[in-house]
Amino acid sequence: MKYNLTIAMPKGKLFEPARMLLEKCGLSYPGLSDEARTLIFEDKEKLVNYIVCRPTDIPTYVEHGAADLGIVGKDSILEANRNLYELVDLKFGYCRFAAAVPREALSADGKFTWKQGLRIATKFPTVAKEYVRKKGLQAEIIKLHGNIELAPRVGLADVIVDIVSTGRTLKENNLVVLEFMGEATARLIVNRASYRLKSKEINGLVAEIKRILETEGGELS
């Protein structure tokens, strides 16, 4: 089958399961890797272009139609808040959003008292703002690009909002989860126009992906 599609693939931990999923759909391309210097791979036989980019940028690529499809975590989709269509829950890459604080910030009975004007360090300012708004609090959001767990240790922030998969990083940094505020897994997203104009190709691929997810269940995760 010829697809004539451009697919945006996420660098990092989602890359390998995403690549494997596509491979099971018959879309394999030798050398497709997130560690190569090349960022574009052209499968001339099946007419598929792969773009390898940072997960946080994938919603942007897809919204503008630079890629028809993208595979990316729900966390990045929520944060990007873009106008795009979310078609399939790919089930892998499970993680949760959590608010966490240093253990010593808890009272003797393990409670944390929210005060007005706390500083929250996060990679996800949109998500953090929404969280704070729902709790009816005022807080200063400090946007960082990585290693959020460092912020409370050096006095940059009182609370962090981050994604947690195993919780090991938090533990190692002596942070405890106050509450979980939503789950995220990898999703297949699609550009609005591509969804209409390439519906045959996209629906073909979506059907294939769904079939594989049904038969293999959680094996991909």
Binding site: E63, H64, G65, A66, N81, R82, N83, L84, Y85, E86, L87, V88, D89, R187, N191, R192, A193, S194, Y195, R196, L197, S199, N203, V206
Partner: protein, 412 residues
């Protein structure tokens, strides 16, 4: 004195330079011309309105996207963010009750979009409103006009996704959840978050098979001929278990019947190939009440236009009157057209300037007047250039030199 800020324009605004501006005006004119052939008359409303007048045009589930300002009496004004609502105001207050009314417009609107998405905040819309006509004939008329307007600027490859607000209505009638959850369903459908929609429908107790089936229909696109097949399916379905899954969920039957009618008329216009039915098509304006559509073209990641039926909007202004219409985004259409499309049409002759120069100012002006009367575009240079200087200047401007001097060249 030049200050730092003097060269800047507000984010989302743009200047249209020579060439670009001409191309844009040409596109607008051609579309309006094509629309006027259907008996539509142009209407214009102010750029600025009272804030509350414009509210029905806004998506109220989020914050509105209006540019607001206050006048000197402290009243809140806003720049129009689309044309349908101001036109509805005019119809209700200033036009005779003489229906149907066929109106068209071309003008700038302002919307406070998130700038990071690369969208402009000031943009030009060309569109129509067909007021006082119910039913699929009227819907198909505006769809056909949209198609012809796009063809008039030379756009060939585009698809109209046709949907119906009844999808949401029929989902909600079979819906056991509360108002908040229903709003969530609406937003999820609007955002095309099918993953979220699936889990939301399951959460309010819809059976898994039913959720799958409804999602299946929402994520499928039907061509005009697919739609006909669906019509005949129920009979076959009774004998064949396999096809049952493919049967129209009863919740969506009414919607399909309506769309089928619209497509029936579009066929009579010969435009059914530009259409596909996509039940997930929804518009962000909440005033739509019937068929809705969005227009897509390859290479542009956003719709280049859209519209639909809005039978309730006029009630907001105290009139109970059916209406349907569309708006096309001129900038997005220009992006999807080849660069030279309007230049070619303008013709080489008309496009190039004539530079009239010479030693005698009187003769230069007289000659220029003559040429202008024949429809040529003329620049004059009366400041005593020598012939070779004039030749050089003409070449620099890409103009044809008309020399009125002793050794005057005879013809252009």
């Amino acid at each position: 004195m030049v200050r730092g800020n003097n060269f800047h324009i507000p984010p989302g605004m743009r200047d249209w330079l020579p060439g670009e501006a001409c191309r844009k005006r040409e596109a607008v004119n051609r579309m309006l011309k094509a629309i006027s052939l259907w008996g539509y008359e142009e209407i214009n409303t102010p750029l600025m309105e009272y804030y509350q007048v414009l509210l029905p045009g806004e998506n109220l589930s989020g914050s509105d996207q209006l540019y607001k300002l206050t006048d000197r009496d402290g009243r809140i004004l806003a720049l129009r963010s689309e044309m349908t609502t101001p036109i509805a105001r005019v119809i209700s207050s200033k036009l005779p009750d003489d229906y149907p009314q066929r109106l068209m417009y071309g003008g700038e609107v302002f919307r406070y979009e998130e700038i990071q998405t690369g969208k402009q905040r000031e943009f030009c819309q060309v569109g129509v409103e067909l007021i006082g006509e119910k039913g699929p004939e009227a819907d198909s008329e505006v769809l056909a006009i949209a198609i012809e307007a796009l063809q008039a600027v030379g756009l060939k490859d585009f698809t109209i996704s046709l949907g119906h607000t009844g999808v949401l209505k029929s989902l909600s009638e079979n819906f056991t959840g509360n108002e908040t959850q229903l709003n969530e369903v609406r937003n999820l459908l609007l955002e095309k978050d099918f993953v979220g929609l699936g889990s939301c429908l399951s959460a309010v107790g819809m059976k898994k098979e039913k959720v799958e089936r409804i999602l299946g229909f929402l994520t499928r696109q039907f061509s005009a001929s697919d739609l006909e097949q669906l019509q005949t399916n129920p009979d076959q379905g009774q004998t064949n278990q396999e096809e049952r899954q493919e049967d129209l969920p009863p919740e969506l039957a009414e919607v399909f019947a309506g769309l089928r009618q619209t497509i029936h008329y579009l066929k009579l216009y010969g435009y059914e190939h530009n259409i596909q039915v996509d039940l997930s098509t929804l518009r962000s304006q909440e005033y739509y009440t019937g068929m809705v559509f969005e227009i897509y073209t390859p290479g542009i990641g956003y719709p280049i236009g859209g519209g639909g039926r809005y039978d309730e909007l006029l009630r907001y202004f105290g009139k109970d009157c059916a209406a349907t219409g569309f708006a096309l985004g001129v900038e997005r259409i220009l992006l999807s057209l080849p660069q030279d499309i309007t230049e070619k049409a303008e013709g080489q002759e008309q496009a190039s300037f004539v530079l009239v120069a010479g030693t005698d100012s009187g003769k230069v002006m007289e000659r220029a007047r003559q040429l202008r009367m024949t429809g040529r575009r003329v620049i004059t240079e009366a400041e005593g250039l020598t012939r070779s200087q004039a030749e050089e200047r003409a070449e620099g401007k890409g103009a044809i030199l008309d020399w009125c001097g002793e050794e005057r060249s005879d013809e252009v």
